[in-house]
């Protein structure tokens, strides 16, 4: 069969235009006359589309890169592939009903998100939280921070070329999943915090697992340091890559470890302390270099500090209830619901109407999530549903940073820089 005039022989049944173009390009191969750009005689200019389906983009991030040879001239990010409109959903749910959605925002550290929502609602509705609940929340949030940083570490090192490392950090993450399973009843999407406290007390099994974890984990961290700190390949791939100066970081609105690695010690836990972070001692790890290596050191230090905080929380953990006793503000305990009429009614009222902040009230409350400042702004119209709920997502702010720091870097460093910024699309896309 002669291979000339493929077009007349092919009868595509779907994507006709696409197939036609493909056959056309097959026909035209080697006969194409390339136009030479006078500014670019070697024809090194190229537009590269990366993602949204790319393993190194950690989800559905899409980058449009304008390349000149191997260096990136310009970058544009395209986000929104995971946009589910959670802010719109929130306006149609009671505050407690919205909790499971927050798990799915930054799905690498759901506990912090639950705490962020609860603290914001507690602020606007003026709910008192028992001491013990504060400490349990802190333990949960710090475990979530370690869990999130472990995933970041595994994928960063994997992006830099060492695949087996990912398995080792996941072994430790698995232990945190087990703790969450015992502590909250769920491994992944925990929804443990409640408005006015937490869902349940720490079980003895969970307590044992947490204690075991904080004993064994520092040794693991030491091993990670031993493997990576002086590793020539890892060091060279991260040093002086994706540099962000302090001024730029503040101007572009970097947050969390990205800002701290650029030399500004901004941490919501110190800036506007919530829960009982004033009662525990911890440092805010800060680096001056602003490159990817600095981000690595900052996050590694943060894991050390988290262990330190958990240890202090366990020492100081006071007794008492884990949820406020005011039935107008929080769910009654299950004992009350099953054995008393009032408990049942209150449980029904909380589910049906929920907590109603005063009409016209506005409140913003932020927590330090693993990725940075995670804030909830709530406007109330006096009903059980928020009139407007705005989520200030740290990944969104950090992705904007990414768009700015990629320019001028090498194409091969793109994946490492994305890894260093550590975006979670569930949160950035809302």
């Amino acid at each position: 069969m002669k291979l000339k005039d493929i077009q007349s022989k092919a009868h595509p049944t779907f994507f006709k235009e696409h197939q036609k173009k493909l056959y056309q390009s097959l026909e035209d191969k080697h006969t194409t006359i390339e136009q030479v750009d006078v500014d670019d005689p070697l024809n090194t200019g190229m537009i590269l589309n990366m993602g949204p389906q790319h393993p190194a983009t950690h989800g559905v991030l899409r980058l449009m890169l304008e390349l000149r040879g191997e260096s990136i001239v310009k970058t544009k990010l395209d986000i929104g592939y995971l946009h589910r409109g959670v802010e719109k959903i929130a306006e149609n749910k009671t505050y407690q009903e919205f909790m499971p959605y927050t798990d799915r925002m930054d799905y690498l550290s759901p506990y912090s998100n639950n705490v962020a929502l609860c603290t914001a609602v507690e602020k606007i509705a003026d709910v008192e939280v028992p001491e013990r609940a504060h400490y349990i929340r802190m333990i949960g949030s710090e475990l979530a921070r370690i869990s999130s940083h472990l995933l970041w570490l595994g994928t960063l090192v994997m992006d830099a070329g060492a695949v087996s490392f990912f398995i080792w950090t996941f072994r430790e993450r698995e232990k945190i999943y087990d703790i969450m399973d015992n502590l909250t009843g769920h491994r992944f999407t925990v929804s443990h915090a409640r408005i006015g406290g937490v869902a349940n007390d720490i079980t003895p099994e969970a307590m044992g697992l947490i204690k075991e974890f904080i004993e064994t984990f520092p040794q693991e961290l030491k091993d990670y340091h031993k493997l990576l700190d002086r590793n020539r390949i890892f060091y060279d791939r991260n040093e002086n890559v994706g540099v962000l100066t302090t001024e730029d970081a503040l101007d572009i609105g970097a947050t969390g470890p990205v800002l701290r690695a650029s030399g500004y010690a901004f941490d919501i836990r110190k800036f506007t302390p919530y829960a009982r972070y004033t009662e525990v001692e911890f440092e805010v790890p800060t680096r001056l270099e602003g490159d990817n290596l600095a981000r690595y050191y900052v996050r590694m230090e943060e894991m050390h500090e988290s262990i330190r905080i958990i240890r202090q929380c366990l020492d100081k953990l006071p007794g008492g209830p884990v949820r406020t006793d005011n039935a107008k503000q929080a769910y009654p305990s299950k004992d009350e619901v099953y054995y008393s009429m009032e408990g049942m009614i209150h449980d029904f009222m909380m589910t049906d109407t929920g907590i109603c902040p005063p009409e016209g009230a506005e409140a913003y409350h932020a927590v330090e999530a693993p990725k940075g400042e995670l804030g909830y702004f709530i406007q109330s119209d006096g009903t059980g549903h928020p009139w407007r709920l705005k989520i200030n997502a740290p990944s969104f702010a950090n992705l904007q940073v990414l768009e700015n720091i990629l320019d001028g870097e090498m194409i091969a460093d793109t994946v490492v820089i994305i890894g260093g910024v550590d975006p979670v699309m569930g949160e950035a896309d809302k």
Binding site: F14, G85, I89, L250, G375, L399, D429
Partner: protein, 168 residues
């Protein structure tokens, strides 16, 4: 909760510098809100950043004050790192053509935040360097966070790629 001394002096200076442009100052749940005239937002922002050291823009977001005069509201969430203060600056915009000057010339961070407000509420930002939608595709013609937009979305409002080839 009372104002911190630094925040109080910042607001006093703002009042002094822009007489008649500050429409409202109030507190709610411990947060401080200042509503200003929409036409002067860039001047006020520059003053806040350069003189009062609100160097860090944490967020910009819109709200829909449905059925009120001046329907839309844009809120700027500012942080003064020196004084450890947080201040919310608001502007109100009308329903027919909600438009306000972009503050990207003051804080670069405003770029994406304002794009998000535009995408969700249809509020336009004058002199914005990259005035595009951010979450929804460009060919989408609705603004999802406006109150009249239905929760379930509008069927057929967005073309979805076909995943099953049509049989002949």
């Amino acid at each position: 909760m009372d104002l911190t001394s630094t925040l109080k002096s910042s607001i006093d200076k703002l009042n002094e510098q822009f007489p008649g442009k500050i429409a409202d100052i109030y507190q709610s749940s411990g947060d401080t809100f200042v509503r200003v005239d929409a036409d002067t937002i860039v001047d006020i922002s520059r003053y806040l950043k350069e003189e009062l050291r609100f160097v860090y823009l944490s967020d910009v977001f819109g709200t829909d004050r449905y059925q009120s005069d001046d329907r839309f509201e844009v809120v700027y969430n500012l942080i003064s790192l020196r004084d450890r203060d947080r201040l919310f600056v608001k502007v109100w915009l009308n329903e027919e053509s909600p438009e306000v000057d972009s503050v990207t010339s003051v804080w670069k961070a405003a770029n994406w935040f304002e794009r998000e407000v535009y995408d969700m509420f249809g509020i336009r930002f004058r002199n914005h360097p990259d005035h595009r939608r951010i979450y929804m595709p460009e060919d989408y013609s609705y603004y999802p966070l406006r109150k009249e937009f239905p929760l379930l979305g509008i069927p057929g409002s967005i073309e979805l790629p076909s995943t099953t080839p049509e049989s002949e």
